[in-house]
Homo-oligomer: 690 residues x 2
């Protein structure tokens, strides 16, 4: 038994090479990782730019995340502010601009922990809702950081239902000012980021009163802190809302207003205005406001949802190739846990989902760019579809990815539960995405409302957007596949998803109709159908995701190796979805029990090395997914610093790294005062009478 | 618009009354909350004892949890040690003993944050595995706290698979000592609680070598810290493993051993011994070791799983009766979110599960007490069944409850994400239960192995334990129910669960058999069936839980009101399970698509106030579950201090409490240094060149 000197354990030097168990996984890749990375980035040029940005940021010690897992809420906030301020300098130094190609990679490079994101929403809301004059006044102040902005919409008692906001803004003709008030505690602004401690200004959403009448919610620019010494302005009560599950680096804040006066010019007035005599004038279309929320929902999917999911997959899959536990065969070495079917079944579907969502994100971006061009031409026709898409996909992708990250965390056993694995912080971050920017159930019901409308239109022959024409074609039928191999045909499974989604929409519509015809009031009938409506909306999004994945693979002709592995991931994503939601496919007999057995067999074959198949071709193909698992996460191209995980680093030296990182913990810095205070008296029996 | 003085918001005095929205929920209870509480406790006497313990603990400021959400890992550890030491004093003062009726309520009263739990496992392992002489020496030292013990089994590279442990203990005849070593980094002990900073001694599990031969893993008592000054003993490297998702109050530790010598007498030797000449002697049965792990798994279900689930339900349901959002009917006040079908469908099934698991816990306790009596009579026959039950139910109940708490958290929207809601800490605590004391997938597969064995035995007419005789009766069939009301019959749904579980076990057994007959090696065949085997084991536990719930309700004749509401919860738990796992019920046609529609209708009816039913009796019954939701959580009888939740307190003053608690956060204690350092230079444009 050779002994390692304990001192050696703690030195970076033993982290020299790549763990052979991980190195071997990379030698058998069926495709070029570098080419897959470039394709995911949208071209080699983008990969180069991204890597340059990441390198510049990671080389700079101010952006270090080394001690993040040991920091208090105060420390994380201070670090986030320091990084945000330093980033301005860095961008200047590097020649990066907000419109340059580097900009979109900065957030990924910084890995999230940065302040002033709400300052950007402050700027965006003034740009979209402000008059030209307001833009000319406020935007330069904001971009030059002569103020720090925030966005105060949510209240303690009011979230998604904006009409319910209780903050008031009463126009006072005599002074030409609005008087803002928080009439009761539930009206207090609560949650706005950057507002608890940083912001000097914020956009407050309040019920507008003028000439004794209420004109619903409007945005007002309000200064909350002194530009001189940062003290709170008169009439302002504000602070930090305290600890959260994550986002401790953000000063989510509260705000109460007591007779706070702002000049008439501070109501954002591109679309609505109060004139000096108190007359309320609405001009132009307010529909564009939806579009802002819509774009925010879509833009968060990539950075806040798909990135954490890809990171979690990277960590869990690399660790599963290094971790050995129990024996798969008697007499052999302990097996890599990735060789167990149950571990494959946990992780590989999540990897497939990460790719599926990357592609659906591309699809949504394109849809929105096209929609935006139309809107710029004052054609608002696509707005309902875009709104339905952004709502449904935001809900579906965030919920799915949250479960996926949880599975990755649990699949790493005890070490996944250590903060040093990086997984707890990814999980507690991603679960927030299910709640913010619209609660998921409410969003799914908005999508459902659109689908029901389209279904009714389609049924009566009226035109509907291309994405939902399939709703017209609901009819009983049976899946034609006859053996397990046929279920690897994208036509077969895409059809099955389409049939299932259409059936769920049509049966929810029928139930709704029945209830109304039987005399139930419309709103009661709607409420009684909402569980099924939400299910139908999710099914629609799932169908579109599968269809888009299959089409993406189909189009990918240039790279045979990559196309082949993407095809397997697409099959896995689709069959996993059928296996996990078997009920909705079996319900009307479209898929029979016997076919479900074929699907299960095909699905399980996809996961693993299958030794007993008669199809030698298939054998080779089946080898790929398990064998390519590590190369497939390597292609996401996360640096060790961005993963910040003792389990997920490229070199797979997980045990040494866990040990080294643990030693940096403040819990190991000195003997705890608990010894002198409590343990010593207990052990020496000198404490006051037991 | 009346203005509240901001100063008023912050005073406890405004928290006087109960929020009318919550008070009204309690006026319509269909049963006596107090009687239900007493029944859950197992009698009024127990309720009185429990309340007395809780009151004594909560009245004592040392046990306060007031600032827990603001504390660092170091602070939480120190508080946990302080509480553990103080508890000794308290118990003496109150006259509570370890065998008295109060003892089992102490942990609930302290609400978890307490040190020295592993000290208890140290004592337990010596009591069970030590010789009489060892017990006589060590137990008094431990119970008098002349040492603090821990239990060092898990290693950095080895968890559930104990045979793989790498720590070594080599017997040295010349000195009559064992020499303990950590031969490589993956052999380092990692995770043991109380070991990182507190323990002076620990039980180390190591591979025993004597006379040049390895005799597998055995336990050794090792001193790791000086009893004089707490410094590490020679050859010992130890410390804290750093931050985790929760359990920050516990000093989970690491330990390396370098030529650490302990006398021959320190190997626990009730069953195995090394004699002075190095001869290894095994005596008696080692099977009893399984039983220790088995009892630990069962005992954690109540305190570590069902309690957090009940707390999460209490918080989410009370909050949902207070939170108003959007309008259910045009022109009305905003509705309580508990009146939305989607919210009911999120929360009420979790409430039903909390009750279901409370009852299955009673069932398991009784089963184990009976088993223990047999074992004391040296009858080990029931061990395999007990082991299978403890494994499967630990896995099923922890996984189900983890999802349930996550649903409760998300159902509270943004405020659920605030630490002050209490839900994040409940979630991060309960998810650990899926990992510790045996990883869930491995546990399910152990249950599956038992089920397959029993299925084969039953198929060939051999005797099997009563709990699995149903496996003999697998045959095709159809559910006889003809309308949605018939699905409220326990016989109907219990039969359906039984059929489904038996089918899954038999089809996994058939697949296993087919693979082996087609030439696949046994271990490969097993691996290829594990996804389905785990599913079958879960289905078995789900079936037993439903059956036990139905039988518990059936037996409950004395209290009509309580029996009625329990019957609804049982129906809800059962139908929710069918609705959510429709595929396995539809698969072989036992339930048809049309019947699934009836089940769905019955299930959704159960949730809510149904206005449009023709059955006036049913109407009354349906009113109950939604209407009784708050009384049903009140019956769990948690004090506000034990919930430690701004959302879940008995008085429902959620907004005031969130605001008051936030103000206590260290983030509001003073102006952040970030202002002087970063914000001021930025705003005043005095920072070094932008």
């Amino acid at each position: 038994m050779a002994l390692l000197e304990p001192s050696k354990y703690s030195q970076g030097s033993v982290l020299g090479g790549v763990n052979p168990d991980l190195a071997s996984e990379r030698q058998t890749a069926s495709f070029s990782v570098e080419k897959l990375t470039a394709w995911l980035d949208g071209g080699e040029e983008n990969t180069r730019t991204r890597r340059a940005v990441v390198e510049a940021i990671e080389r700079d010690p101010v952006f270090s995340r080394e001690n993040e897992y040991f920091q208090s809420q105060n420390e994380r906030y201070e670090a986030a502010v320091r990084k945000a301020v330093h980033l301005q300098k860095k961008m200047h130094e590097m020649g990066w601009t907000e419109t340059g190609p580097e900009f979109k990679y900065i957030y990924r490079a910084v890995s999230g922990d940065i302040a002033f994101l709400l300052h950007r929403i402050f700027i965006r809301s003034i740009s979209m809702l402000g008059s030209d004059k307001q833009i000319a006044k406020w935007i330069p102040l904001a971009t030059q950081h002569k103020l720090i902005g925030s966005y105060a919409q949510t209240e303690l008692g009011h979230g998604t239902y904006l009409q319910g906001l209780e903050t008031t803004a009463v126009f006072d003709i005599t002074t030409q000012e609005f008087i803002l008030n928080t009439p009761k505690i539930s009206a207090m602004k609560w949650w706005p980021g950057d507002m608890g401690r940083s912001a000097t200004h914020t956009v407050v959403f309040a019920q507008l009163y003028t000439n004794g009448q209420c004109y619903s919610v409007h945005p007002f620019i309000v200064q909350i802190r002194s530009l001189r010494d940062h003290s709170l302005c008169p009439g302002i009560t504000a602070g930090d809302i305290g600890p959260k599950m994550n986002f401790e680096h953000i000063d989510n804040g509260y705000l109460m207003l007591q007779n706070v006066r702002v000049p008439r010019e501070n109501m954002l007035s591109r679309f609505c205005e109060v004139q000096p005599d108190g007359t309320y004038v609405r001009q132009g279309s307010q529909k564009i406001n939806y579009f802002t929320m819509t774009t925010v929902r879509i833009s968060l999917i990539s950075d806040e949802v798909i990135m954490p999911l890809m990171k979690a997959c990277t960590i869990a899959i690399r660790y599963s190739a290094v971790r050995r536990q129990s024996k798969l065969k008697p007499g052999e070495q302990e097996a890599k846990i990735l060789d167990y079917q149950t571990q494959q079944e946990k992780l590989l579907p999540q990897l497939a989902a990460a790719y599926a969502f990357h592609f659906i994100n591309d699809y949504l971006q394109e849809l929105f760019n096209r929609g935006y061009r139309e809107i710029q031409k004052k054609n608002f026709e696509t707005l309902p579809e875009l709104h339905a898409f952004s709502s449904g996909f935001k809900a579906m992708v965030t919920q799915y990815s949250t479960s996926a990250v949880q599975i990755c965390l649990q699949a790493c056993g005890g070490h996944g539960y250590s903060s040093l694995s990086g997984l707890p912080s990814l999980y507690t971050k991603i679960i927030a995405s299910c709640i913010y920017e619209g609660e998921n159930t409410i969003l799914l019901l908005q999508t459902a409302r659109f689908l029901i409308k389209c279904f009714r239109a389609a049924s009566t022959g009226q035109p509907v957007p291309p994405s939902v024409t399939y709703l017209a074609a609901v009819k009983p039928g049976k899946c034609p596949a006859k053996n397990k191999l046929e279920f690897l045909s994208p036509n077969i499974y895409t059809e099955a998803y389409q049939h299932m989604a259409a059936r769920l929409v049509s049966s929810a519509a029928a139930k709704l109709q029945d209830l109304i015809q039987s005399g139930v009031k419309k709103h009661d009938a709607w409420n009684q159908c909402t569980v099924q409506l939400a299910q139908a909306a999710k099914a629609h999004c799932h169908y579109i995701t599968v269809k888009n994945f299959a089409e993406t693979v189909e189009k990918l002709k240039t790279e045979a190796g990559i196309q082949r592995i993407m095809k397997h991931l697409c099959d896995l994503f689709a069959l996993h979805g059928i296996f996990s939601n078997a009920g909705v496919f079996l319900h009307d007999g479209y898929i029979s029990g016997a076919q479900m057995d074929m699907i299960t067999a095909s699905y399980l074959d996809l996961l693993a090395v299958i030794r007993n198949t008669c199809f030698s071709d298939m054998n080779v193909i089946h080898l790929l997914l398990r064998k390519d698992a590590v190369p497939l996460v390597d292609a996401f191209d996360f640096t060790d610093k961005s993963l910040n995980s003792a389990l997920g680093s490229y070199d797979g030296q997980v045990y040494q790294r866990l040990y080294e990182w643990a030693q940096k913990s403040p819990t190991n810095k000195q003997m705890s005062p608990a010894y002198e205070r409590y343990l010593k008296p207990l052990l020496h029996n000198t404490q006051s009478k037991l």
